[in-house]
């Protein structure tokens, strides 16, 4: 079928959301690791050196949050653009 302008807009928005979440993921993974030594010596959080905290717990929690946020935003976006699958219950 031919896709309408609305469909293209949906896909563009999806790409933007994906890109933003991907950048957050990248920062809390690779940028965090790159500066781990500096972060560790800079401060402690709950008794943990900062980089240890993020690698052992903080980044993991952020991953969970990212996926949750993605699922929520996309559910809303699906409805808004009429490409949702309806109520399945």
């Amino acid at each position: 079928m031919e896709l309408s302008a609305k469909h293209h807009e949906y896909w563009r928005k999806n790409l933007v959301i994906t890109a933003i979440l991907f950048v957050v993921w990248f920062v809390f993974t690779f940028v965090e690791i790159w500066f781990a030594r500096d972060l560790n010596s800079s401060m402690t959080f709950l008794g943990f050196p900062l980089a240890f905290y993020f690698s052992a717990q903080g980044s993991l929690a952020i991953y969970v949050a990212l996926i949750g946020i993605y699922a929520l935003i996309m559910r809303k976006l699906d409805k808004e653009y009429g490409v949702d699958e309806g109520d399945l219950e």
Binding site: N14, F22, R37, L46, L60, A61, Y63, I67, L88
Partner: protein
């Protein structure tokens, strides 16, 4: 298959009821066994109860959910609610290596071990953002299915089959190894027998009901494994931090651990032991430098010592000791070199303990940067490998909708997160416990668990009084990573029933992963290879039968390979991830996000990524004996760091050079991008 009376919400309610009863039943079973232990049930019987009750339970679920329907067999009827699919994915994902090995790796390597924790969780972000919803919309049965439809042609499908089988087979061998290890420890059966007892459990589930049976057993297995992992941690947490959720409070224990490490580094007795090791290592290296001469000199020396003692009429026991030294002297230079190499290796034990929380320790800036690069390499390959392993991606075909697929990745990571953010905590608590209680205690009063485990396997634990002062120094302890999780209940002085529970959890982790992997292999062979490539007219009954038959074949082959005890399993697991990251990830993701990606781009790109990855591993990994210099000092496990970009660039360039994909393919790409399109041209629910 959904009958007219089937209602998803009814089904969800029933599932919740079943699994709540199940969890309650399991806890009651634990309490009953704990009571039985107090009343004098022997340890061996507790082990048997755990083994047979849990395997029997999984087999029971497998029997109840047996099926011959194609959609049920391959994708559990596509009605697994997201939360339950999350638990099943968690069990599927967490292998024996995660359950038993992870905390041990963290115990031994401190901060550097966190690369695995990050790598094995962060990959799910990639699954959620780039793959799961689109694969669910596509809605076929296997990953090669997607590649074949998207790029067209049998070459792509065939390559996909090869990649899927390679990754999964390498991985399943490691799981069956774990099963054999745990069963033999739990019951005292032989390793080989243990492998086959465990295998019987795997087969009953996976063979009778395919994906449907595997899904519902994996949910049950997740519940067992998470209870098993948390119990000792909560107990240790109460002991050391005073609160039952030590995950949030062990930062302060980590600080105290740092102080203990400093004390141990400065302790004169510790320094004395380390000096002994350093001297022995230096002597070994010196001997290796001039083997012939050292061998002759060493031999002459032990013989002279004996002659001198005899001449001086020394006491009989001194002479006997000198005679033993002569008898024990290596028979030739080669044997002596083996011994010297071992001595030279003691240099590692001459080093003071590394601060647990220090990132990338190293002598100088260059060494620290290499350590950082290797940390990044592992994180990178594990993450992109996660988003490419077919047994995980397949799970997202089983949800009722695209929306549920997205939430399902969320629940998967929540379930996995629970274990992975506990592992570093367990490592710190166990280390602190050992450094404060075992180190500094007297050899005369070693705890019972220490001697018991040293007897099981000296590579897991050995404590030898090197400087003969009767006190345990840290440098005198050698501990294997696998011991940490398995022995923590005993170290903490918990009743034996908790040890049994932990072993049952490890077994659940290994069995559930093996189930998923074997199913992937069997489906790739039966569905993609036989049905799609050889005989497209095969009836559904024949396909399902063939898949069951191939599953048994794959299981027996894997068990056979396992019984040969192939070396370094951690390398094999890492290699499976690197291979997946370089072969599957680029063409899957580009196939969804870039319409222009063409058939030949995918074929050449996959081959290029896989080629670079295999080339780097073969020429650099010591096992193959070529040992070319490393690129940027990156270890061969992380070969995917080269393979993935090479594959992506190749797909890009070749796609531009070849004709653009036909209109149907472009429509397919549009089809997967929207959860629901009015007038969809592609039939999604293929049978």
């Amino acid at each position: 298959m959904s009958s007219p009376a089937f209602s998803q919400s009814n089904f969800n309610r029933q599932l919740k009821k079943y699994y709540t009863f199940y969890t309650g039943g399991f806890i009651a079973f634990l309490l009953a066994l704990a009571l039985a232990e107090q009343m004098g049930m022997s340890r061996a019987w507790i082990g048997y109860w755990f083994l047979f009750a849990t395997i029997g339970l999984y087999a029971g679920i497998g029997w109840m959910t047996r099926t011959t329907d194609v959609a049920e067999y391959y994708v559990a009827g596509r009605r697994v609610p997201s939360f339950f699919n999350g638990m099943a994915t968690g069990a599927d994902w967490m292998s024996a290596a995660s359950f038993i090995g992870m905390a041990g790796t963290l115990f031994l390597s401190g901060f550097d071990g966190l690369a695995w924790v990050m790598g094995w969780t962060g990959g799910f972000c990639l699954v959620a953002l780039f793959l799961a919803p689109y694969l669910r919309k596509f809605g076929q049965f296997t990953i090669p299915d997607f590649l074949a439809e998207r790029y067209g042609g049998n070459i792509v499908r065939f390559m996909g089959v090869i990649c899927a089988i390679t990754c999964s087979f390498v991985y399943v061998v490691a799981q069956i190894y774990g099963v054999g290890l745990i069963v033999s420890r739990m019951t005292g059966l032989e390793f080989g027998v243990g492998v086959f007892v465990g295998l019987a459990g795997i087969l009953v589930c996976a063979m009778l009901g395919g994906m449907r049976a595997v899904t519902w057993t994996q949910v049950a297995q997740y519940i067992v494994l998470i209870i098993a992992y948390m119990t000792p941690v909560v107990w240790l947490g109460v002991k050391h931090t005073g609160i039952p959720v030590p995950q949030f409070a062990y930062g302060y224990t980590l600080q105290k651990l740092g102080d203990v490490e400093k004390k141990i580094t400065a302790d004169p007795k510790e320094q004395e032991v380390r000096k002994i090791f350093a001297d022995r290592a230096a002597a070994g290296r010196a001997a290796l430098a001039a083997p012939e001469k050292s061998y002759a000199e060493g031999k002459a020396k032990v013989e002279q010592d004996l002659a001198k003692l005899k001449a001086a009429n020394a006491p009989a026991e001194k002479i006997a000791e000198a005679e033993r030294a002569v008898a024990a002297y290596p028979v030739n230079v080669n044997a002596a070199q083996v011994q010297w190499r071992r001595e030279a290796g003691l240099a590692a034990r001459a080093a003071p303990p590394r601060p647990h929380a220090e990132a990338f320790p190293g002598r100088d800036e260059a060494a620290r940067n290499t350590a950082r690069l290797n940390f990044i390499g592992i994180v990178f390959c594990m993450m992109f490998g996660t988003a490419a392993l077919p047994h995980i991606l397949m799970r997202y075909y089983t949800t009722p909708s695209v929306q549920e697929a997205r939430t399902s990745v969320f629940w998967s990571l929540v379930c996995i997160f629970l274990l992975y953010f506990t592992a570093p905590c367990l490592a710190v608590l166990a280390k602190y416990d050992m450094y404060t209680h075992l180190v500094g205690s007297s050899f005369a009063s070693l705890p019972a668990w220490a001697s018991a485990w040293a007897k099981v396997d000296p590579s897991l634990l050995s404590i030898v009084d090197i400087n003969k002062d009767g006190i345990v120094q840290l440098a005198e302890i050698v501990i294997g990573g696998d011991l940490i999780v398995l022995a923590t209940p005993e170290i903490a002085g918990l009743p034996y029933v908790v040890s049994g529970l932990v072993a049952a959890g490890g077994l659940a982790a290994a069995l559930s992963t093996a189930d998923g992997l074997l199913l992937t292999i069997a489906n790739a062979l039966a569905h993609d290879f036989y049905y799609k490539l050889i005989d497209p007219t095969a009836t559904t009954g024949r396909r399902v039968f063939l898949s069951k038959f191939l599953l048994v074949c794959a299981a027996i082959t894997a068990a056979y390979v396992t019984s040969l005890k192939p070396g370094d399993i951690l390398f094999l697991v890492g290699a499976a991830f690197s291979l997946g990251a370089s072969s599957f990830f680029p063409c899957l993701v580009m196939g969804i996000f870039w319409k222009r990606a063409s058939k030949w781009g995918a074929i050449i790109g996959m081959a290029a990524g896989l080629g670079i990855c295999v080339y780097y591993m073969v020429t650099r990994y010591p096992f193959f004996g070529i040992n070319m210099p490393l690129w940027f000092g990156l270890s061969p496990v992380s070969a995917g760091m080269f393979g993935l970009p090479v594959s992506m660039i190749t797909i890009y360039i070749v796609s531009w050079l070849t004709p653009e994909p036909p209109k149907e393919v472009q429509e397919l790409v549009e089809h997967v991008r929207y959860p629901n399109l009015v007038g969809d041209t592609v039939v999604s629910e293929a049978r």
